[in-house]
């Protein structure tokens, strides 16, 4: 009786790890990066990144300014190549195909991988034309089909009820929060597989922010989402997994619950508790 016996009641971390390994066997990854490095000229912006973005989950990317998180998601749809001095090594596999292979068609990639930006950037057109823009480029001319796509996309972005009676009005007349949901709807109209979001709520008021967060939760049923955010509470609220970037490296990548309740790395702890950054 007097011998010291300390039993772990339930080692939650262990349980979670087991779950994630069992998840790994039946859950696919949409993206997998292998030893990804990126330089802007001399500046080494991404260092040996090995990350996977799981299917039908929300993956949050957090870290201080300049840590490489936006660069990382812009690399996933090869948008980063628009910067002329960029040099990349390593591999990114989208659905098991290396997107850097010379034969790989970047237009095809961007059809599958949509993007929503920090500032709402609707086209200076009607709400309807904003949403129909992508499908038209893809050759859809039938008015009935376009109508269906517009409605479905606006509903998907949780803004249909707010705009259904003013589809022909200019999207610029909407509030910032509404414009951002229009941009999400525009992204949904081409039925992507993955949605990348680069600080989608940083220019929005708190209520619009919560609407977009709710929407992200809905969208993950049908899409896989990677979201860069400066708002750590947002990452904690909406994501399944979180990656913490620092100086171009991934310091920690784990389940959001574990990362925000008991991070493994001291630097993660310091960042999420606001001790630096």
């Amino acid at each position: 009786m007097t011998t010291l016996t300390i039993e772990k009641k339930n080692n939650k971390r262990k349980i979670e790890k087991n779950q994630s390994t069992s998840n790994a066997s039946n859950k696919k990854n949409v993206f997998e990066t292998k030893d990804l490095n990126l330089w802007y000229g001399e500046e080494h912006a991404l260092k040996e990144i090995n990350l996977s973005i799981p299917e039908n989950e929300v993956t949050a990317i957090i870290g201080p300014s300049g840590c490489g998180k936006s660069t990382f998601i812009k690399t996933l749809n090869r948008m980063v190549e628009m910067v002329p001095i960029v040099k990349i090594s390593g591999a990114i596999k989208y659905r098991e195909k290396n997107i850097f292979q010379p034969k790989y068609r970047v237009e095809e990639l961007r059809t599958q991988v949509g993007m929503v930006f920090q500032k709402p950037n609707p086209f200076p057109k009607s709400i309807y034309d904003n949403i129909a823009y992508g499908p038209r480029i893809h050759g859809i001319r039938n008015k009935k089909i376009l109508d269906q796509i517009v409605e479905k996309s606006l509903r998907g972005a949780a803004i249909w009820d707010e705009v259904k009676d003013r589809l022909n009005e200019n999207a610029y007349g909407l509030s910032g929060g509404q414009q951002q949901r229009i941009c999400i709807a525009r992204c949904l109209a081409i039925e992507p597989d993955v949605i990348l979001m680069d600080e989608p709520t940083s220019a929005l008021d708190p209520i619009s922010t919560l609407k977009v967060e709710e929407l992200v939760q809905e969208l993950k049923k049908d899409y896989s989402i990677a979201i860069v955010t400066h708002n750590m509470q947002q990452a904690a609220r909406i994501s399944d997994k979180t990656a913490f970037f620092l100086n171009g490296e991934v310091v920690e990548f784990s389940g959001t619950d574990a990362l925000f309740s008991n991070p493994e790395d001291k630097r993660t702890e310091d960042y999420i508790t606001g001790r630096f950054g």
């Binding site: 009786m1 010291l4 016996t5 039993e7 939650k12 606001g274 001790r275 950054g277």
Partner: protein, 219 residues
């Protein structure tokens, strides 16, 4: 550079309040043991009168913790520190209640001559009080080695409690006129045993605070 200096200051204040609460409960427990040993009814009454200070401070700690959660959105070890302070303050407050319960038993026994000299019961109470002292120290210093040692002491108290209760209840037949005293003393033993359990809970909270994992020291 400390980015959240005022938040850190408030967390430090919360810790200080909790240590203070622990000291108040320690005093109450010590006075209760003294009152029992000396059959000092006046001291027993003072313990009961002063209990409001402990209750008030516990409420203050809870209010502060809730405000910090609401206003600072704490995560990771900050969040654990706040949650744990709510739990520990509740354990300490309970221990102070046991001191009050012991004081009430002292009053109920009154000046009735004791059927046997009190040696083992105060000794056990001393052990329980030491556990509280060590728990507060472990909390202050985040010393999980000290915290985990609590399991040993709790086992000792449990075992000793079992023996004492057997002994006290066996006196029922021998001293049928002292039933009240015997019942009160067995209650006191129970309060002491529960005090040790709550000190052990505090130790578990400290391990959780430092490691972020749940341990059961109270088997």
């Amino acid at each position: 550079m400390v980015v959240r200096e005022s938040f850190q200051t408030q967390l430090d204040e919360l810790r200080e309040m909790l240590v203070q609460l622990g000291q108040l409960a320690e005093n109450a427990l010590e006075e209760a043991i003294d009152a029992l040993k000396n059959q000092d009814i006046d001291q027993a009454l003072r313990i009961i009168d002063n209990d409001y200070r402990i209750n008030d401070l516990e409420e203050e700690i809870n209010d502060k913790a809730i405000l910090l959660i609401a206003k600072q959105a704490p995560v990771a070890s900050d969040l654990r520190r706040i949650i744990v302070s709510i739990k520990i303050s509740s354990d300490i407050e309970r221990i102070a209640d046991f001191a009050v319960n012991i004081a009430k038993s002292v009053i109920r026994i009154g000046n009735e001559p004791l059927i046997k000299p009190l040696i083992d019961i105060p000794a056990l109470a001393e052990t329980a009080k030491e556990m509280l002292t060590e728990a507060i120290q472990a909390y202050k210093e985040e010393d999980i080695v000290l915290a985990k040692r609590m399991a040993d002491k709790d086992d000792y108290v449990d075992e000793k409690y079992g023996q004492l209760i057997q002994e006290i209840l066996s006196m029922m037949k021998e001293y049928p006129d002292s039933t009240n005293q015997i019942i009160q003393l067995s209650f006191v033993c129970r309060y002491i045993e529960r005090t040790a359990d709550h000190a052990t809970n505090i130790a578990e909270s400290i391990v959780y605070l430092v490691k972020g994992k749940h341990y059961d020291l109270n088997e």
